[in-house]
């Protein structure tokens, strides 16, 4: 059965006008229609925060739960009912501060969840405090003199937790977002999608360098498995390996040709270069990498749980409660 975005829509979103969540929601509806899983077979599970309101605007099954626990709740949901497609929606506070423990363990276990991290580098719902992704020195209501702590970088955390899938998109970039969401769905295992989105009220311009199409062309690189890592308005720049790091080169200059440019390998098990790509663009002169940065197949937790149950069922001779009782030392008392 073919679906349209309309089939996944419900209600009237209550986010501020211009909020990145509006863009992301529309892209998620679109991606779900293209993916084609029936709304009855989807669970969308969020924590607490602006972005965690999202399930209320879905015509699927879902839960808008408690702060930070979405990944844990989604874990139980997926393991108990592996036939469901489970999307987990969190913001940077929900997913990486209060929910940081669940985030890393869902990645480590490799549960087949599509984990969306809507990153606006601020606490919006509580009206403007710094988040674990806010840059050092960030001035907010709770840090009037600037923060004195370093932020997490979601990709680094995901890779550190042995994550097998990491993608990044900008909320306003419909094709880019739909593409990573579809890839996250196709990937079996925990798939982290970092969505860069703007908070118009408390952190306006936080992703300004990539937020509109024009800026993106200058400041972002779209990575695609098997394609050379080139960027720029006319694809005039490329990435090459330089010692332990990466270097930007201009194609056609100093004898550099397309042959010299690195070809993206999202499927490479060793995440060293993928991490380098994911870490680019934080004021280091490199472009921000968008697209599927890492996508490596690995056994999923939920499949392994099911397989082990089947394996033990085949090994053991008891398959009902009555048969279980008989496995004990039993004695008989006669009158």
């Amino acid at each position: 059965m073919a679906y349209s975005a309309q089939d996944f829509k419900k209600g009237q979103p209550r986010w501020c006008p211009g909020c990145g969540d509006h863009f992301f929601l529309a892209n998620l509806h679109k991606a779900m229609a293209e993916i084609g899983v029936a709304p009855k077979d989807i669970a969308v599970i969020s924590g607490i925060g602006c972005s965690s309101r999202l399930p209320h605007y879905m015509a699927t099954y879902g839960m808008n739960t408690i702060h930070g626990r979405a990944a844990a709740i989604a874990t139980g949901c997926k393991v108990a009912n592996p036939r469901l497609t489970v999307w987990q929606i969190s913001g940077d506070g929900d997913g990486l501060a209060i929910g940081g423990n669940h985030f890393i363990h869902a990645n480590r276990r490799n549960i087949d969840l599509n984990m969306i991290l809507l990153n606006n580098r601020i606490y919006g719902l509580t009206k403007g405090q710094y988040s674990p992704t806010s840059p050092r020195g960030f001035v907010s209501k709770s840090s009037p003199y600037g923060t004195v702590e370093d932020p997490f970088r979601p990709a680094e955390l995901c890779f550190g937790a042995r994550g097998h899938f990491f993608a990044r998109a900008v909320a306003t970039d419909a094709p880019g977002t739909v593409e990573v969401l579809k890839a996250a769905y196709s990937h079996k295992g925990a798939s982290v999608c970092e969505i860069l989105q703007n908070c118009v009220i408390f952190n306006d311009g936080c992703h300004a360098s990539v937020y509109d199409k024009k800026e993106r062309a200058r400041n972002a690189i779209y990575v695609k498995h098997g394609q050379p890592l080139v960027f720029g308005e006319n694809s005039e720049y490329g990435l090459v390996q330089d010692g332990f790091g990466l270097k930007i080169v201009e194609i056609g200059k100093d004898g550099i040709t397309m042959e010299d440019v690195l070809v993206h390998d999202a499927h490479c098990e060793d995440n060293t270069l993928q991490l380098k790509l994911a870490m680019m663009g934080d004021g280091d002169g490199f472009p921000v990498a968008l697209g599927v940065i890492r996508d490596v197949e690995a056994p999923t937790y939920n499949d392994a749980v099911e397989a082990q149950i089947e394996e033990v069922k085949a090994q053991k001779k008891y398959h009902s409660f009555a048969e279980l009782l008989e496995t004990n030392d039993i004695w008989e008392v006669h009158n």
Binding site: G11, A38, P39, K40, D41, I42, A43, V44, I45, I48, P55, H56, M58, A59, T60, Y61, G62, M63, N64, T65, I66, R69, A72, I73, A74, T75, G76, C77, K78, V79, A80, N81, R83, L84, N101, H102, H105, V305, Q308, I309, V312, K313, Q315, K316, Y318, H319, S320, F321, A322, L324, L325, N328, D329, I330, W331, E332, V333, H334, N335
Partner: protein, 611 residues
């Protein structure tokens, strides 16, 4: 040599935590139960992870009470104390009657052993004021070594068999049939027949030692069973019975059983037990923390499983937020709290009833939740089954309280026949409601319907924000919140629970003893003893705590004297005072981490009845 007929006897095996006292005690109780004696056991573990060998903190005990009639407790003080080393004698003698027989391994009472056990001299019996006539002194280690000399076993393996010598000696003392022990060991060590045979050889040697040197003991005892309930039995601990109850409930309801848990003493054995039974489709997830244990269970519940999370008091602190989410989302969930000593880390291996008010009230908002408490190791089965039934049929989280004492203790469990258990029928939303159904529509009893993902036409969103009664959408309407709060409360209040049964002199008691959960055995034994002494006494032991049985107020206000006895500072008494107008009981409170002592209870209750 006399053969004396006893109606009951209490044996306590004690030794270093590596001495295998739990196994020896287990086998002895199984042998006794097999011949039809009533049994009740209590393992007493040291809190230290692995205290130095021979030290006072490393002593582990296992007490078993066997009786010709029904026994309700592992017994206050033992008639026979086995002390495998000096530290065991030093720390465990206080659990022995003044005329108890003491069995010691003299090989473990050397100068170093005595020093570690903080004896001042070599006259350890004198220091402890033990009459040498009561003592069976036996060079146990030497004899085990001699017995196994020709097996080629290394010293470490030989030393592991010492417990079986003590067991053999006790079996002789109580005229027990060794074949049952032999069968037990052959089954336990089926893959290591050499070990099984070595153990069997040592048991026989212990038995023969007793037989050949019986001059050192006054009597050999027999406990003949008076009333037998025919049937097939197994020995079961409370934690295992709890796990079995969940398995049975899931099978009856036709649901997958999901346990999300995090290891915590004394609840971990439930996780261990359920993890074994994948052949029954049981799914266990050892989560990253207590919070995820509860949260993932709630996710599994949403997805349509019988969801359980198991923990002890400190875990409840962490789970309370997700438990509260289950309250407002009205999803089934069973939260097992195997209570231990608190606050904070408290006494991890010891028993208390101090979580009652936490599970009743420890959440933000008006957050009513059914609470049950199991009465005994074997009752854990029925209690787990019933807690699951209430959760599934009333769409609510349910707390099941047990405690370290009944969780680790065991009793003879008559094998249940699931056919005799009531059906479990979750309120699945009927197909014909498609198109008109909203998430908070309720059945007549106030329970909302369950729409499990996968059903077309029933897609819906639940959550922690208050919802509109009619549409299920987020609502901050003050009238609606008031209405929803009342509906959640009314739903719990309307859960039917059986009337509380008053035992003993229910018509004319001068004193009503009131308790809840795992203290049942001790309170029952205290009542029995007082009635034997000619007093008019009754007992009301609460199993259902929220909602209270409909006849609770009537029972509690019927008798001239009432005492609420509990292992906390008065939590049940406070709850009952809140729920029953004019209820003003006497209290008996004790938080020593150990089970009540029947003698202490009787003494205290006599003071109350004589007022």
């Amino acid at each position: 040599m006399n053969i004396e007929e006893l109606s009951e006897v209490v044996v306590r095996f004690s030794g270093d935590s590596g001495d295998g006292m739990q196994l020896a005690g287990n086998i002895f109780s199984t042998i006794s139960a097999t011949v039809g004696n009533s049994i009740s056991t209590f393992p007493d573990y040291p809190a230290d992870i692995r205290a130095p060998q021979g030290s006072l903190t490393g002593v582990s005990g296992f007490q078993v009470h066997i009786g010709a009639d029904k026994v309700y407790t592992p017994g206050d003080l033992c008639d026979v104390l086995v002390a495998m080393n000096a530290a065991a004698l030093k720390t465990q003698l206080k659990y022995a009657k003044s005329n108890a027989t003491v069995i010691i391994d003299t090989d473990s009472f050397g100068p170093k052993d005595l020093e570690k056990a903080q004896f001042q001299s070599e006259d350890y019996l004198g220091e402890m004021c033990i009459d040498p006539d009561r003592v069976i002194s036996c060079p146990l280690t030497t004899m085990v070594k001699d017995c196994l000399a020709d097996t080629g076993m290394d010293n470490k393996a030989v030393m592991k068999c010492r417990n079986m010598f003590a067991l053999g000696l006790v079996c002789w003392l109580f005229d027990r049939d060794l074949n049952i022990a032999f069968n037990f060991l052959r089954e336990k060590f089926a893959r290591k027949p050499n070990i099984a045979e070595a153990n069997i050889k040592v048991i026989q040697a212990g038995y023969d030692y007793g037989h050949n040197t019986h001059s050192s003991a006054h009597n050999v005892y027999r406990i003949e069973t008076k009333e037998k309930v025919a049937g097939r039995y197994m020995d079961i601990t409370g934690n295992k019975a709890t796990a079995y109850g969940f398995i049975a409930a899931a099978e009856k309801a036709g649901l997958k059983l999901y346990l999300g848990s995090y290891p915590i003493t004394p609840a971990t054995d439930v996780l261990h037990e359920l993890s074994k039974h994948k052949s029954l489709g049981v799914t266990t997830v050892q989560c990253e923390d207590e919070i995820a244990g509860c949260a993932s269970s709630l996710g599994a519940s949403f997805a349509g499983a019988l969801a359980v999370t198991s923990t002890s008091g400190p875990g409840i602190c962490l789970k309370s937020e997700a438990m509260n989410l289950a309250v407002i989302m009205e999803l089934p969930l069973v939260v097992l709290d195997v209570q231990r000593g608190g606050p904070a880390t408290g006494l991890p291996t010891k028993s208390e009833q101090t979580d009652l008010l936490q599970v009743l009230f420890g959440r933000n908002g008006d957050s009513p939740m059914p609470v049950m408490a199991a009465l005994s190791p074997t009752d854990c089965f029925d209690a787990a089954y019933e807690a699951s039934k209430i959760a599934l049929e009333h769409m609510t989280p349910v707390v099941l309280l047990t405690d370290a004492y009944i969780a680790n203790g065991s009793g003879a469990f008559k094998l249940p026949d699931l056919k005799e258990y009531p059906a479990i029928n979750p309120p699945y939303v009927p197909e014909e409601m498609k198109g008109t159904w909203t998430p908070y529509m309720r059945k007549e009893d106030g329970t909302r319907y369950w729409a499990v993902p996968g059903r077309e036409g029933f897609e819906h969103i639940l959550g922690g924000l208050e919802k509109d009664d009619k549409t299920g959408a987020i609502s901050t309407n003050p009238e609606n919140h008031d209405l929803m709060t009342r509906k959640r409360q009314a739903k719990i209040d309307a859960i039917p629970v059986p009337d509380i049964v008053v035992e003993g002199d229910k018509d004319d008691a001068d004193l009503l003893i009131v308790g809840f959960g795992g203290t049942y055995g001790h309170l029952r034994a205290a009542m029995d003893q007082m009635r034997n002494d000619g007093k008019k006494v009754a007992l009301a032991q609460f199993r259902y705590i929220n909602p209270l049985p409909a006849n609770a107020a009537e029972v509690l206000t019927k008798y001239p004297h009432v005492v609420v006895a509990e292992q906390n500072m008065g939590q049940l008494a406070g709850w009952l005072r809140m729920k029953v107008d004019g209820f003003c009981p006497a209290q008996y409170n004790e938080v020593k981490g150990q089970p009540f002592k029947v003698a202490d209870l009787v003494k205290a209750f006599n003071t109350i009845i004589n007022k």
